[in-house]
Subunit: 140 residues, 3 copies
Amino acid sequence: MAVYSYKINLSTKGFCDVHDITPQLREILSESGLREGLLSVILAGSTGGITTIEYEPGVLKDLAELLEKILPSSRSYHHDAAWGDGNGFSHLRSALIGTSMSIPFSSGKLILGTWQQVVFIDFDNRSRNRTLHVQLVGEK
Amino acid sequence: MAVYSYKINLSTKGFCDVHDITPQLREILSESGLREGLLSVILAGSTGGITTIEYEPGVLKDLAELLEKILPSSRSYHHDAAWGDGNGFSHLRSALIGTSMSIPFSSGKLILGTWQQVVFIDFDNRSRNRTLHVQLVGEK
Amino acid sequence: MAVYSYKINLSTKGFCDVHDITPQLREILSESGLREGLLSVILAGSTGGITTIEYEPGVLKDLAELLEKILPSSRSYHHDAAWGDGNGFSHLRSALIGTSMSIPFSSGKLILGTWQQVVFIDFDNRSRNRTLHVQLVGEK
């Protein structure tokens, strides 16, 4: 049993910018040489989210519209009054979707469906350079 | 320390069909013989979800109504235009609720409340045969 | 590799009462002596939630308002008809936000952003004494 740590760097545009990180996660798992265990990925930040979705333009547009309906980016939030950076909606979307998830792997492969991608979504209101942290716990 | 992999097979009906998988998870933990560690369960798919809720008919009906309000199954989504399978709402509900969760165990028992069940919810618009993957990392 | 179990006790007020548990998680990690691995925290209960958010009064008020909009506490739910404890909204908020999350740690530090706190939110409609369970899997 061993633990391995990796990072994924992304340049993001904000406003529900969705990045498919499945290829990077598969590469990381392959590099680690681990065969059986658990992968955990987290954003060290409070204005993005991690979940799974089919990485297909239509449904990604639907997701952006859903979040816009529940948490409009044009509205003013109490958070904005406190800080003035105008990204209250980004913080709330992040708390709702969540900033981490765990994915088991077996026989050296991530357990995911064919149409299921792990995505990082940047909810912020500006471009960012993001670092995701990936931790693997398992055995060879 | 060791890793064990298991599967749970379910026949589901779709349209917010909720299955209590707590008994299967307890049986898996017992079979593994592990006493201390972490259990992770995931749906390898993009139209279902995993969360915890009291498995009681009233609140399950409430959950279905909540999701119907936020993401109506009768509406048309961009995803539907792309694929024509009419389950855009299923994909969005899945991304919102999440497809995996981790549950610690100690002294050979899952750490869950009395009224808290781990559930798989099938959000799809048709019957399915589903496989959930359960990974245990821990020690005896 | 080893597994360690800890508990966090909280006195909560309900109605979206948010507690920053990051200091307790940091102390637990330090006590364990583990350097690399995965921390998992869960509520053994069905009327609270665990997520990350900036622990700042404005955004916490925004979060309470969001949940009040989606799942009003004043409405009657099917769950209330079944049990009569009037906390149907609490159960639904819990299922939506989730009751557990995993956070990787490396070099003896939790991987979290500067403005990102791990919070326990009590969604119930009364004061409670809550116990959160924290499990660490990793190596020194």
